[in-house]
Symmetry: C2
Subunit: 340 residues, 2 copies
DNA sequence: CTGAAAGCGCTTACAG
DNA sequence: CTGAAAGCGCTTACAG
């Protein structure tokens, strides 16, 4: 059904119907109520493309997933983030355009999305420590919100981030308080901004405690269980093994747990582990006393917030850039204890 | 840049430029080559909305994710499926519209997507054994491809499915050959079509072997590690415990493994496990000799195929409905052996 | 092989 | 508070 047909059906002009449905103030409230109800009953909804053509902006947010060999979307963290963004979008009647793009075609992809008018704005995912996308999007003129931060970017921009540095500083401090002195770090790829900051937090806490750092105790890789497993075996086999490990994801922690048990040791007794916990829906670390001591911050919530901020920014009143720094909570579980 | 501007720039009429870029045959090949190159250089791409308005069809496929309390998208299987569909879409210059919709608003959501013109077709995910969506989509007139099958739907429709019944029949047969007689089944929620078929396969194989079935050896729940862990403990604690377990996902298998190890037993010695393996990118069961004996079928590939079939069907030549039945391969790993 | 013009379904200044 | 009409950027019959 078109606006024309619908307007005829209800005996009003297209103009009035359009205004009523779009919430313009000039229209009589009784008329509006009647028209909204009629639209619902007859299943009329304005064609989104005609709407775009007339107004020039799309109620669609873009998520461009950089594909590096294996797609990032396979990362369970990304799935939860998308779930959060999706929830926010359905609540606000926005749509999501999802595209998967090879690393070296990012610029082209954003330009295409913009010139085809497919999206009103974009969420930038997995920013690298010195990411070129914000500058690119500024020049294209596409509104965006970064999930994370881009250290190198000077102009003000919207971002939503967890205080990664502080979280790892606190977690390291917590282990130090328990009496640990050899603490390992199994981080994500430190080229990503979040992992870089986590490392800073870890180093700062050690430095503040007057401890030297040992490169053999630090690793940086894609955050899989296999990585946690392999590194845990390596660390436990050292002549002077760490008594505690800090890691950047529950996938890694699961791998560590596996290795520890295969060695006949017990987590939280022979070895302490603190993990960053994105509170993934499919992987619960949420018993009354959680298994892993963790820095917890829900990535799903971050997805909601990113979508919300972006939608505000896309809207007609062109809201200013926002910055949201979320604090992770330090949740004590059964995987930590003083060193033996 | 608009078509008008671009046409003026290259000194041609809008008509010719449009035809050249859309591959119409009437245009001189030299002219076409020149215009395509010029478009690339100047970054011209037709506005998708104007294009829709003129042609009436959108090069966008919809993925509507049913949200049941926790969103399905948190399911890592879904993430891999989307990655596959996304790859296919970028290759064919299609876009993906992702929406998250509560179970009881599905019908409304599909109608909205159709009437707003937001999608040219839709992939139906996680069909239940007697799913109403195909009939709904038929009546709305929205092309679709089902990932899985809908037993109750009579009219011909496009689907892509794994031969779940055969996979579980073969896996059960494999365990029977090894000498197992008490075989448990930890299935997904059997209201879903795939889980229903898996159960049929398991029951058929047992029946063909002349064995009776034991309800205490069967469970049906959301496929989490916690489920596998809890059920494994329960099964191992039975007076007459099973010597083998069949399960529907590697998440479940991981939980079983955990329980077995905590009981001081060894997988592939004291207990055999065969799992269905969707070959998820983030969870590899792909060592030279994989850890779990598995029925393997890549869900990412299924995603690609669904997108491909849907795109063909959306296209102007209105391709007939297709049926793709994929066979899972039975891959022998280290988690199976004859019963002790 | 090429072009002028109508039309796709909306929104919104302008006029009343 | 309401409406007639122009215009958004394309595609495509129709005419040449």
């Amino acid at each position: 059904m078109t606006l024309k047909e619908f307007a005829k059906l209800v005996g009003m002009s297209q103009t009035t119907v359009s205004r009523a449905l779009n919430g313009h103030p000039e229209v009589n409230e009784k008329t509006r109520a009647r028209l909204i109800e009629a639209a619902r009953q007859h299943g009329y909804a304005a064609n989104a493309h005609a709407q775009f053509l007339a107004t020039g902006h799309a109620s669609i947010i873009g998520c461009v997933i950089p594909v590096t060999g294996r797609s990032e979307i396979v990362n369970p963290i990304y799935a939860d983030f998308l779930a959060g963004a999706g929830e926010e979008c359905s609540a606000r009647r926005f749509d999501i355009n999802l595209s998967m793009v090879a690393d070296d075609e990012q610029a082209q992809a954003y330009r295409r999305l913009k010139s085809k008018g497919l999206i009103g704005g974009v969420i930038v995912q997995f920013p690298r420590h010195d990411d070129s996308r914000p500058a690119l999007l500024d020049s294209i003129g596409l509104p965006y919100v970064v999930h994370g931060r881009v250290t190198g970017h000077d102009a003000p921009y919207s971002w939503v981030d967890v205080n990664n540095q502080r979280a790892f500083e606190r977690a390291t401090g917590f282990l130090l308080q328990l009496g640990h002195r050899r603490i390992a770090l199994l981080n994500g790829i430190e080229d990503f901004d979040f992992a870089h900051r986590r490392r800073q937090g870890y180093l700062t806490a050690l430095r503040d405690a007057g401890l030297s750092t040992d490169p053999a105790l630090m690793a940086s890789r894609e955050m899989t269980a296999a990585y946690g497993y392999g590194q845990a075996l390596r660390l436990l086999d050292m002549p002077d093994p760490p008594t505690a490990i800090l890691c950047s994801a529950t996938t890694i922690a699961t791998g560590i747990r596996q290795a520890v048990e295969e060695c006949g040791l017990t987590l939280g007794v022979d070895l302490s582990v603190v993990t960053f916990d994105d509170d993934l829906s499919y992987y619960a670390n949420r018993d009354t006393v959680p298994f892993f001591t963790a820095m917890r911050s829900g990535v799903r919530m971050a997805g909601r917030l990113c979508a919300q901020r972006l939608i505000e920014r896309i809207g007609p009143r062109n809201a200013p850039a926002t910055q949201d720094l979320l604090e992770a909570e330090l949740v004590v579980g059964r995987s930590t204890a003083p060193p033996r």
